[in-house]
């Protein structure tokens, strides 16, 4: 039996290029993983984590469950292409076995089996397989049709905007679009000449046979198979350099993530898996307020990852992000978009300077005595009403407080970190950690979610319970140390990005507000909450742009009809106060005003 024909050469070359590049890339990335990452892999590879990862691969790489949740049509498009194509390959494999028994057949023999059947004298068709293959081809073709429609009218699939692609992506995308229609045509003509096929290729074949003479059919037969093979070859050879790299990269990514590998604030080899697992689906574009409110394109996560991957990242793109994290909650691949952006900034801006911040040594402006420390945070210094409300609360709860920064403290380090100056931020982290240790506190309360996040993520504060003031207040109410007076006020609550998506604190502030009055929710809340726009992470947009984002957000808060807007971040507080016409309060003020003292 022969399984070679000249037209298969483009396919074979393309396939070989793809396999070689994939192997080289994955090997290089794996070898360069830091030692602790390799240890994590060794420790976890033979555990149930691998099984869980396998299941996730089926759910996400084949079925695309998370995309189904974003939009069912978009989900169908992705899963019809991914699952449909895999089944075409798998069922095609079984088909060759059914016809030829268990024997070795070269790859092109499987892929172009329809072509090699008459060549090898197989004329009896198995109707079941013909039907199954036609069915699968129809499913894949429907996915391709949806992809075409998506390019023209993305709103049908719930996307206001789709990604603008680079040249490599366009080549691969065009090749992919033509692969299945060409296969359909080539198989139909084969059916017209040699019979076989089912409802799709079979009936198209008989239609062609009744309208075209045998000479014409014979003339287009070989060229069509050539075209199909060339389309496959182009797709495979451009695939590792284009967005379609995600098809395979998502699989190792899912396994590594299950083994607890994660990107950090310094770039490392693992980041490659996350960066190249991005399919540039563009789901991250719509949640971005820079896009929806300000109309800024080309900075969203999809473009950031693209630029980073092709080494063409500009500081102005890396810096133009609120790091609110809304896109990250929507990403169907689950890429740590914010952390990757942070470590890109650190690579571009971090200038180690040993002498920097030497002026910190010996400074101690703290005051008071107590086991509970209060770190108000820089921003809270600009909201004195929060400070005095916290004083009232501490007094009412009967807690002795050590004030870390009442008379001016040292920044927590997160703002520097957000700007990529991680080495400098370390100095602040060391200074503050030392300060907390020296005063022997066992609990640290902060009013600023920006500080809270860095305390939790980057500080080593074992033995010190770090909490946001909303958590502290809720705990004091639960312990009965604070008694609230219920009012008939209607409040609405704004989730600060760093507190909500950043630290996962959604319920505690809501429970505190519910203890005082009625809470009404804005249209976007919790994980989907809007950013106030004043984020420290963005150093590109100007004041008027910040205010436009803020007004859009406060518009939603005011639409709830609540009498008071409550938030729990001094930065959000100041921004909302400027943008909204409604009374705005920090959660501590609401509590301090309504403490019940018998």
């Amino acid at each position: 039996m022969t399984f070679f024909a000249p037209f298969t050469i483009p396919f074979i070359i393309g396939g070989a290029i793809m396999a070689a590049v994939l192997l080289a890339k994955y090997t290089l990335w794996a070898v360069r993983l830091p030692r602790e990452d390799k240890r994590l892999i060794r420790r976890n590879i033979l555990s149930f984590k691998s099984l869980a990862a396998l299941w996730e691969v089926v759910r996400e790489s084949l079925l695309h469950v998370r995309i189904f949740r974003v939009n069912p049509v978009l989900g169908y498009m992705h899963s019809s292409l991914a699952l449909g194509w895999l089944l075409l390959i798998a069922v095609g494999w079984i088909e060759t076995v059914a016809y030829l028994g268990l024997r070795w057949v070269p790859l092109q023999g499987h892929v172009f089996f329809k072509y090699f059947m008459p060549v090898n004298g197989i004329t009896q068709h198995k109707a079941g397989f013909e039907l199954a293959m036609d069915l699968l081809l129809a499913v894949v073709l429907s996915g391709v049709a949806l992809a075409w429609i998506k390019r023209m009218r993305s709103r049908i699939m719930g996307l206001r905007r789709t990604t603008k692609h680079v040249l490599f992506d366009r080549i691969a995308l065009s090749a992919l679009w033509f692969v299945f229609p060409l296969r359909y045509l080539a198989e139909s003509v084969t059916c017209a000449i040699y019979g076989g096929g089912s409802f799709l290729t079979g009936s198209t074949g008989s239609l062609l046979a009744s309208h075209l003479d045998a000479e014409t059919l014979a003339a287009v037969y070989e060229p069509l198979w050539w075209c199909y093979s060339i389309a496959l070859g182009i797709f495979f050879s451009t695939m590792p350099f284009s967005r379609y790299m995600h098809i395979f990269t998502e699989i190792p990514l899912i396994f590594l993530r299950r083994y607890r590998l994660a990107p950090g604030i310094e770039p490392k080899s693992y980041d490659h898996f996350e960066v190249e697992a991005c399919s540039r689906c563009g789901i991250c574009i719509d949640p971005c307020q820079l896009q929806s409110v300000l109309g800024i394109d080309e900075v969203q996560s999809v473009y950031f990852l693209r630029d980073r991957r092709y080494n063409m990242l500009q500081l102005s793109v890396a810096n133009n992000c609120l790091m609110c994290g809304r896109c990250q909650t929507k990403c169907p691949v689950g890429i740590n978009l914010n952390t990757l952006r942070l470590n890109s900034r650190s690579r571009m801006r971090n200038i180690p300077n040993e002498g920097r911040f030497n002026y910190l040594s010996g400074i101690d402006r703290s005051s008071g005595e107590g086991r509970t420390g209060y770190f108000a945070g820089c921003m809270t210094m600009l909201t004195p009403r929060t400070l005095s409300a916290m004083d009232t609360i501490f007094r009412a709860a009967g807690d002795d407080i050590w004030h870390a920064d009442r008379d001016g403290g040292v920044c927590c380090g997160r703002p520097l970190m957000l700007s990529g100056e991680t080495t400098a931020a370390r100095k602040m982290i060391e200074y503050n950690t030392d300060l907390f240790r020296r005063h022997g506190i066992t609990r640290l309360v902060t009013s600023c979610p920006i500080c809270l996040r860095v305390f939790r993520e980057e500080y080593a504060l074992d033995g010190i319970e770090v909490m946001h003031h909303s958590e502290y207040i809720r705990m004091m109410i639960a312990e009965g140390r604070l008694q609230m007076r219920r009012t008939d006020m209607r409040y609405t609550y704004h989730d600060p990005c760093e507190l909500g998506r950043g630290c996962g604190i959604y319920d505690q502030p809501r429970e505190v507000i519910a203890a005082v009055g009625e809470l009404v929710e804005p249209a976007h809340n919790r994980r989907d909450a809007l950013c106030c726009g004043a984020s420290l992470a963005n150093t590109v947009i100007d004041d008027s742009q910040q205010m436009r984002i803020a007004r859009e957000m406060t518009g939603e808060l005011e639409a709830t009809g609540a009498g008071t807007i409550v938030t729990s971040c001094p930065l959000c507080y100041k921004t909302i106060k400027r943008a909204a016409g409604t009374e705005t309060k920090d959660i501590s003020e609401v509590v301090a005003e309504n403490i019940f003292q018998p």
């Binding site: 380090g413 703002p415 100056e421």
Partner: protein
């Protein structure tokens, strides 16, 4: 806080000669951050400054001198900044002061 300093101390008398100063870097900075030209020199940035509360760092002075082409020790001074962002919140002209701080370092440092 022990008395706010808005950055107006007594300096030794001296003259800045704009004609002899090299304004190239200053112009570059103003081109990238034109809003800095709207600064009224109120000193609120210095008064609210976290680093300025602990040291003699004076942001108003640094960016005013840089705009006049006086770059000496501006980079070293700017490195005292913690980028906490209070200055941006208090600026009555809504200037992106954190952006200014980063820009001055980028233009006048060695990177």
């Amino acid at each position: 806080m022990s008395g706010l300093r808005f950055g107006y101390g007594i300096n030794r008398p001296r003259a800045i000669d704009i004609d002899s100063n090299d304004l190239r870097k200053s112009n570059e900075i103003l081109r990238e951050m034109p809003e800095l030209q709207t600064c009224i020199g109120c000193g609120s940035c210095t008064a609210s400054c976290t680093a300025g509360n602990l040291t003699e760092f004076n942001f108003r002075r640094v960016h005013t001198l840089v705009r006049r082409g006086e770059y000496r020790s501006a980079y070293e001074e700017m490195n005292k900044c913690m980028l906490c962002g209070k200055c941006r919140l208090v600026c009555p002209r809504g200037i992106n002061t954190r952006g200014v701080a980063m820009l001055i370092k980028r233009k006048l440092g060695d990177f």
